[in-house]
Amino acid sequence: MTTVAMAEKQVKMEERIVDIKNPVLSIQDLSIAYNKDKYAVKHVNADIKKNAITAIMGPSGCGKSTLLRAINRMHELYPDIVTEGKINLHDDDILKMSTIKLRRKIGMVFQRPNPFPTMSIYDNVIAGYKLNGIKLKRAERDEIVERSLRNVALWDEVKDSLMKKGTFLSGGQQQRLCIARALAFQPEVILLDEPTSALDPVATAKVEDLLVELKKDYTIVLVTHNMSQAARISDYSMFMYLGELVEYDKTKVMFTNPRDSRTEGYLTGKFG
């Protein structure tokens, strides 16, 4: 590729970045390397819209999980990681915030359901408060547990067995419990890392319905390798490839009219 073509492409990329007013999150020239010169995320620029579902897609190893984890700095659990660039939550640079405060505002749900096996359902929901040493009155705790479980449509299923271990639930129920645990803090943003990859289709559908319901109150960022899931529930989609953000657009636009040949290749199943 000639330098002229590269420059042209750069300009086109700039044009393509969707214009989002008052974004909740603003990712600015973010690069992340696990060790020197091996970048997992390269110069990503993106704004995330409030009360919408943004899906991040791409073949495995494309950096989508790393990008998601960077948003509440979970990627820092790996030693020797290098982070360049900025992520703003409203006007605060999250890379300069205390992780404790940041993670209260941005919750996370993981690939495999991971309720704490030594805790009851009730304690799992309230775990964030316990871990953070926040003291609550009994009534407040009950209120938070009920609200959070209602939010994930789990309350009716478990209200009689709140003191049982969370690991007795089915996989789908466990995952909704984990979402409830993340919601208990009433965060602004919820990050989900392939939340349905370990679930059966019925449980997956329930979680998807739930996410659509939740976007009224929360901003949701979702990593998925399931294109149809992104098509079904997301409002905006990102396509990442080899650490680059190749394309970012309204989901409908991207799925009907991808502008980059790599996106098209991925969406039509040529690779990934």
Binding site: S98, I100, K101, N132, G133, I134, L136, E140, E143, I144
Partner: protein, 297 residues
């Protein structure tokens, strides 16, 4: 919402981060404290034991108290060595190994072959219990059995029986664990060809698991070589080299105990301990090497 207000008021993050830092350093400091004794012990043995390490130390028997006293009073190093201890230790340990290794390996294979059986479970539990029996009690047992009834007197055999009982559970467990790691397909391939079972054990199971068995055996030997208490009750000790299994025999740890109790011999304590420690260390390193090699294959 009420809870939300509480949340905003309870900003404890800097306090918690401080606690986290302090805890981290507590872990690091305590870990260093934990390993400091081994450094101090080995350091002390090397510094104090090095002086006595000479050719005679390995080729001569222990001096008597008077010789040692004369040498010390003239500022010379104590003459003589610990040959009777080295040969005694070898005799007792080899004898114990000859009994414990075949028996332990066979029982280990038995447990591997009959894993689900209740009887095998019982044997396994017995091995577990035996592993926890204090060595001094094993010394008592061997005294009651061998010293009193077989050799009618303190003997190398009695010592090796107590050490053999000590080794057995270690070898049994390591054999069973090693066998479990051998793919069953290897065994079945042999069985399918109609090879007699004993040949499969000798030609397939034992050679395939050889390094695992060796690791277990070396570790078991390194455990018993430094044992003093059971030998006090069984082999008693001897100032001369003895190779008769029915006669009292010395051993390096027994000599250390004797030197410790004899003010004139104190200088020999450290070199003997250094020798013993070096032996244990070498066995440990060899067995770790074997284990590491096995993992890479």
């Amino acid at each position: 919402m009420k809870a939300q207000i509480e949340l905003a008021n309870q900003d404890n993050s800097s306090y918690r981060k401080l606690k986290d830092r302090i805890f981290f350093w507590f872990i690091v400091v305590m870990s260093v404290v934990t390993i400091s004794p081994i450094v101090m012990i080995i350091g002390k043995l090397v510094v104090k034991g090095f002086r006595q390490f000479n050719f005679n130390f390995f080729t001569q028997t222990t001096p008597d108290t008077f010789e040692a006293m004369m040498a010390v009073s003239q500022g010379e190093i104590i003459p003589g060595g610990i040959l009777n201890g080295i040969t005694g230790s070898l005799l007792v340990v080899v004898l114990a190994s000859v009994m414990a290794i075949p028996l332990g390996v066979i029982i280990g294979i038995y447990l591997y072959e009959n894993q689900a059986k209740r009887y095998a479970g019982l044997i396994r539990s017995i091995a577990d219990v035996l592993q926890g029996v204090p060595s001094i009690v094993l010394g008592l047992i061997s005294y009651l059995w061998i010293v009193k009834h077989v050799t009618t007197g303190f003997s190398a055999l009695a010592g090796s029986v107590s050490l053999c009982i000590m080794m057995l559970p270690l070898i049994i467990r390591s054999t069973e664990e090693t066998m479990k790691m051998i793919p069953t397909s290897i065994k079945e391939a042999g069985l399918a060809l109609g090879v007699p079972y004993y040949k499969i054990i000798l030609r397939v199971l034992i050679p395939t698991g050889f390094s695992g068995l060796m690791t277990g055996i070396l570790l078991a030997i390194s455990r018993i070589i430094g044992e003093t208490a059971p030998l006090m009750l069984t082999t008693l000790g001897s100032p001369v080299v003895n190779m008769n299994i029915a006669k009292p025999t010395s051993a390096v740890p027994l000599l250390i105990w004797e030197f410790y109790n004899d003010p004139n011999m104190v200088d020999l304590i450290w070199s003997s301990s250094l020798f013993l420690m070096g032996f244990v260390l070498t066995l440990n390193i060899i067995s770790k090497r074997i284990a590491a090699k096995r993992r890479t294959i």
